[in-house]
Amino acid sequence: MSHEYDTVFVGAGLGALASASLMAQRGQKVLVVEKHNIPGGYASNFRRKDFTFDVSLHSFDGVMRGGHSFKVIEACGVADKVEFLHHPTLYRYRADDIDITVGHRDLEGYKNALFRFFPEETDNINRLFAESRRNYQDLCGFLYSRKPFWMRLVATPMVYPRVLRYGHETVDAYFSRFTANERLKEVLSAQWSYYGLPAKDLAFGYFSYPFIDYLDHGGYSIKGGSQALSQALVEVIEAHGGRVELESAVQRIVTSRGRIKGVVTRKSGEVRARNVVANISPQAVVALTGEEHFAPRYLSRLREQKLSVSGFQVYLGLDCPLSELGVGAEDYIHFFAPPKTQREQFEHIKAGELHPDNTSWSINYFSNIDPSMVPVGKSSLGLFTLTGPSEWHSLSKLEYRRKKQALTDLLIDNAERVMPGLRQHIEVCEAGSPRTMSKFTQNPEGAIYGFEQTTRQSGLFNRFPQKYPVKGLYQVGAWTFPGAGFIGTMLSARVLVDRYF
């Protein structure tokens, strides 16, 4: 074997790039191997005509200078290489009975809006947010402590009691400690599509950090799209002697006597390494390593893990400014909720029965945040809905094209109702389906959030572990702790490096 590295990363998603930058800065020799022609995974851009689109939702919670979430950006060495643009509003929730706009860093304004719709719940709402903030402080204490990882674990019950108290209950169960109002609980979890599960099934431990971070510290996008962040991380890695190999692929993870020996890549052939960190699905890791290197019990537990839901996103480039279609400059994302409970909606979502009467969907006004990504005088937006994998992956290509077009039309029809005249202004239209997600990430069933964040699969002890039963083999990114999201995957990098490197 001609090349030698301390650590090789499989896949150049945000989790890998963040951990590679942390390790390279500590003097480790790292190699990141990526199949695609650009780095970043879901943190990347694509172009159609003169429009540049961010692939995913492109929303960061709380990355303001001095804030907790900014620490991970600083630690990765990119704080001065990227510019964060705050969202003028966090979101607008639109249902038949309730219409609430949540302002940027305006928890008091949000509470007042809730008081108007739920006047009898005033005290409960105040108590709920006060305790949620204390819980956030506990979580930050745990995540960002400079103490060794084992010491933090031991100290948790005494120093960060809420992490344990609430960590294993659902969002709904946590809210129920303060209120019995079902509607209020649903409104409080208006962003549930970001997490991929209804509040009644979603782990509070995963939800609780961004929940408060968004409200207290705001939502942000990266100027130039999230590709700028991925590119900045690559620069840090290369400046510290690391290498990022694009348009390659890890073809095999090589082990010997239960320990990592290296990898075989398409471009470099055999590469020797002490550690391999995977930023691809654990199912793919097992396949690349060979099932025979894992105990049957481990494999059956992996098969029992439930995958998260997938999503469908339509990207539109418009030949006019958003203001011409009645969109305010303060709009970032609108969530449209039908008169159904989240659980009822989720049943329809899993079955692929998508309709504005049954399932929620959202409009993301991309170019309101970063007009530099579209030509002058033009604009862009995204239409998004969660969807189950249903038959997306088994259709013939012709049937697939029809299904994709039908859902694209449905979402544009939805949007046309709130933005009359939209259709006439569409210059560029592109859509990403669960099949598209699988094509680019090779994640099974187009799962966009790794494993589902139920209480059984969430948190430090229940999330799919960062360490494999093969010595020197690790996992980072959405599939492991804490989970998906820009901050989620970068935190997983930080926890991985703190704990094992």
Binding site: K35, H36, N37, E247, A249, R266, K397, R401, K439, F440
Partner: protein, 123 residues
């Protein structure tokens, strides 16, 4: 920018590249396949799929294979869009890795039978 199919594909034509293409940019010929530069969205997904390493991004073409850019564009105008992978040419093993296969290229497209050729777009 576009991706370009080059010499290595001729007389092998595995078509592994087709299923992964999100833009339906591949056009099928009798012993070669090309990418329509008007349709290609530069995603690069097809590149690692090709067992003959025949696909190259436009900006990595050199003097030895730059002429394939125009060839892809021209042939795409005459050949039908292929939507689904078909078996490789039968004698592909004996042509794998053979250099300078361009003289073997068949330009004339096979006639399309809408009933038989379900792998092609008939629009």
């Amino acid at each position: 920018m576009t991706y370009v199919v080059t010499d290595n594909c001729i007389r092998c034509r595995h078509t592994n590249c087709v299923d992964i293409c999100p833009a339906d940019a591949f056009h099928l010929g009798p012993n070669f396949i090309v990418i329509n530069p008007q349709e290609c969205v530069d995603c690069g997904l097809c590149l690692p799929e090709c067992p003959e390493a025949a696909i190259t991004p436009e900006n990595q073409l050199d003097d030895s294979n730059r002429h394939f850019l125009d060839l892809n564009a021209t042939l795409a105008e005459h050949w039908p869009v292929i939507l689904q992978r078909i078996p490789a040419l039968e004698d592909h093993p004996q042509w794998s890795g053979v250099p300078n296969k361009l003289p073997h290229l068949i330009h004339e497209a096979d006639p399309v039978d809408p009933v038989r050729d379900t792998h092609l777009a008939h629009a």
